[in-house]
């Protein structure tokens, strides 16, 4: 048998990039996401007006060359506000997801490792969180903590972390039974080391996959919370809030509601495609949630 010639194999990054470009849905999502990201990062540069500047003379103007997306009921430029709104939404999505993963993963990891009754009670504990229909738990928690963007983010994180705990738990259970971990235990490694070096790297993939798919949903949930009046409040710039304040006028001035609305739609859509792509890359046979 001749040895396999590896000198001409493309580098790992090249293969990855090739797969990204090859997967059409992922690519579209990626492009859209980059647009949103650029809007968020470069908002101050790309904005044409001060997003907070109220100007009653210019209120409710339709889209034009001076105001690309028109103005809202207080005369604020919608295009600029939408750019800044991207910051808010992406930040919310990122922070909530990171928090949920950071809290949920160790819990699931340890429960799977400890096994037995721990696992049972963890499942029941997370069952309680899952018993709440979507949005209700964030609503209740925000009501208790007080309304505001940060309170809403905490509420969303609290509602989300049990899912990650469960996902990591099932993986952790499996991995802790593997020969790899058993031999590590037999070799006398301490629990902490085993958890961190042996178990975590094998367990975090489903959590990351799930996080990438949840990112979009989190933004949607945050926008919905702001829409019904909890979460973001003036002068926060958040797309859901923008749609909410437009309700009195939108029947005659559609752009005030639809522009931020479409911003949400495009962002969440892009992130969903991206999440699907990440899932296909990391977990092609897919038995995630």
């Amino acid at each position: 048998m001749t040895a396999v010639d590896t000198s001409n194999e493309p580098s790992r990054w090249a293969t990855l990039l090739g797969r990204v470009a090859g997967n059409k849905t992922f690519f579209v999502g990626f492009v859209l996401f980059i647009i949103v990201l650029i809007a968020a990062i470069f908002a101050p540069l790309l904005a044409t007006y001060d997003p907070l500047a109220i100007n009653f003379d210019d209120k409710l103007l339709p889209p034009s060359l001076t105001h690309f997306f028109g103005t809202d009921e207080l005369g604020r430029d919608l295009y600029s506000r939408i750019l800044y709104g991207a910051r808010t939404s992406l930040m919310i999505g990122l922070m909530v997801t990171i928090l949920a993963v950071l809290i949920g993963t160790p819990i699931g990891l340890i429960a799977g490792y400890a096994g037995g009754r721990f696992g049972f009670w963890l499942m029941r504990f997370t069952d309680v969180f899952i018993a709440f229909p979507p949005l209700l738990l964030p609503i209740a928690i925000t009501a208790a903590l007080g309304q505001g963007l940060y309170e809403a983010m905490i509420a969303l994180s609290i509602s989300a972390f049990p899912w990650y705990a469960r996902i990591v738990y099932s993986e952790s259970q499996r991995v802790s039974q593997s020969l790899y971990v058993k031999s590590a235990k037999a070799s006398g490694f301490g629990h902490g080391r085993i958890l961190f070096k042996h178990m975590l790297p094998n367990c975090w993939t489903p959590a990351i996959t799930q996080a990438s798919m949840d990112f979009g949903y989190t933004i949607l949930a945050a926008a919905s919370l702001s829409f019904i009046g909890i979460g973001a409040k003036e002068p926060d710039i958040e797309w859901g809030l923008m749609v909410a304040t437009s309700r009195t006028k939108f029947l005659d001035f559609w752009w005030v509601a639809m522009m931020p609305g479409f911003a949400i739609l495009i962002t969440v859509f892009a992130l969903n495609l991206l999440g699907d792509g990440v899932r296909d890359l990391l977990d092609p046979k897919g038995d995630g949630k």
Binding site: P133, A143, F227, I264
Partner: protein, 337 residues
């Protein structure tokens, strides 16, 4: 099988208890001042002292919890700060409206979504499949409030085909009364033969149902499609084809069955999803249901109402899930001994 039912029931009770603990925690432990949450803003010092005494808010937490649990079991959820009436009464009055909306949505989702998913799976990459996958992808990205407002813009604003908000035209209700039998306007008006009222109710239901259903529809289409595709790759499909059964026969008589059984669980989850999302839909359409009420409760800091509704909806969802689980025994032959 009986032991399983008992076990499952036990789990459900356990989780219900957990829900209770959680709502207790949120209402008494989480807020800075539980008393103020229960009394409303800026209560007088004596009111605070009185309520603290009455409700035992100065006792240790476990004692408080037992008391709390006792109240809940008796149906005492306190009074709404908005309306000053018992919260349970407020919920009871609004419940049928939400029920009607959610039921219509579930029906729409199942009647449209399941066949769409099935046919998308049968003709993969065909026109129906592309349509189905597009609806799936977009439907989960659209916020419910956005689709609701878009519908309002088009059908109420521009076309004026449908009413903007509300559950029924007040004038119609006055002139064409019908007795409340089930609490569902469509059913009650039809039973009474009041067709004008029926029309009005239906017209008011149209947009909220559509808005509420869209994201659930997207999910159901995708899941049905996946389940159908999995069922199509089962080995018994090869056997049946090998013995000459036509594709149609195989698909609709045998494969569909295999796909529908796991779908049952998903239907239960859809109920939960719709219950949660109804908050937003009811708010947009000024629908006189529980969802709309909870939003108003939040904005008026009517904390007792918020907690009570949260707890009740979670409990309702748990019970629905339990029944769906039990339904499996009737439907899935593999569970028979």
């Amino acid at each position: 099988m009986f032991t399983y039912v008992l076990k499952r029931l036990g789990t459900m009770v356990l989780i219900l208890l957990g829900v209770l603990v959680m709502t207790f925690f949120i209402s008494r432990v989480l807020p800075g001042s539980p008393v103020e949450m229960l009394l409303g803003s800026r209560p007088t010092a004596e009111a605070v002292a009185r309520v603290t005494e009455e409700m035992g808010l100065d006792r240790p937490l476990p004692v408080q919890f037992v008391r709390y649990m006792g109240e809940v079991i008796q149906g005492d959820f306190g009074n709404s700060l908005m309306t000053k009436r018992p919260v349970l009464t407020e919920i009871g009055e609004r419940f049928p409206a939400t029920l009607e909306l959610v039921l219509c949505s579930v029906l729409l989702v199942l009647i449209v979504g399941v066949p769409l998913g099935v046919f998308a799976a049968l003709r993969q990459n065909g026109v129906i499949d592309v349509v189905a996958r597009s609806i799936s992808a977009l439907g989960v990205a659209v916020p419910t409030f956005l689709i609701a407002m878009m519908l309002q813009l088009l059908f109420a604003g521009k076309l004026r085909w449908l009413p903007l908000q509300g559950r029924i035209d007040d004038l119609v209700l006055l002139d064409h009364e019908f007795p409340s039998v089930t609490g569902l306007y469509l059913v009650d008006s039809a039973l009474a033969g009041q067709w004008v009222a029926f029309q009005s109710a239906a017209a008011h239901l149209a947009m909220p149902t559509l808005a509420l259903s869209l994201s659930a529809l997207a999910l159901i289409v995708r899941i049905t499609r996946t389940m159908m595709i999995e069922a199509l790759s089962e080995e018994f499909v090869t056997t049946l084809r090998a013995y000459g059964l036509s594709s149609t026969r195989v698909n609709f008589r045998y494969v569909l069955k295999a796909a529908m059984i796991p779908l049952l669980t998903v239907v239960g989850m859809t109920f939960g999803y719709l219950l949660g999302t109804s908050v937003v839909a009811e708010f947009v359409f000024d629908w006189p249901g529980i969802g709309g009420f909870i939003v108003r409760a939040i904005t008026t800091s009517d904390f007792p109402s918020v907690m009570a509704i949260t707890m009740l909806l979670a409990s309702a969802y748990l019970i629905i899930t339990f029944f769906v689980d039990m339904l499996h025994f009737a439907v899935d032959p593999r569970l028979r001994p």
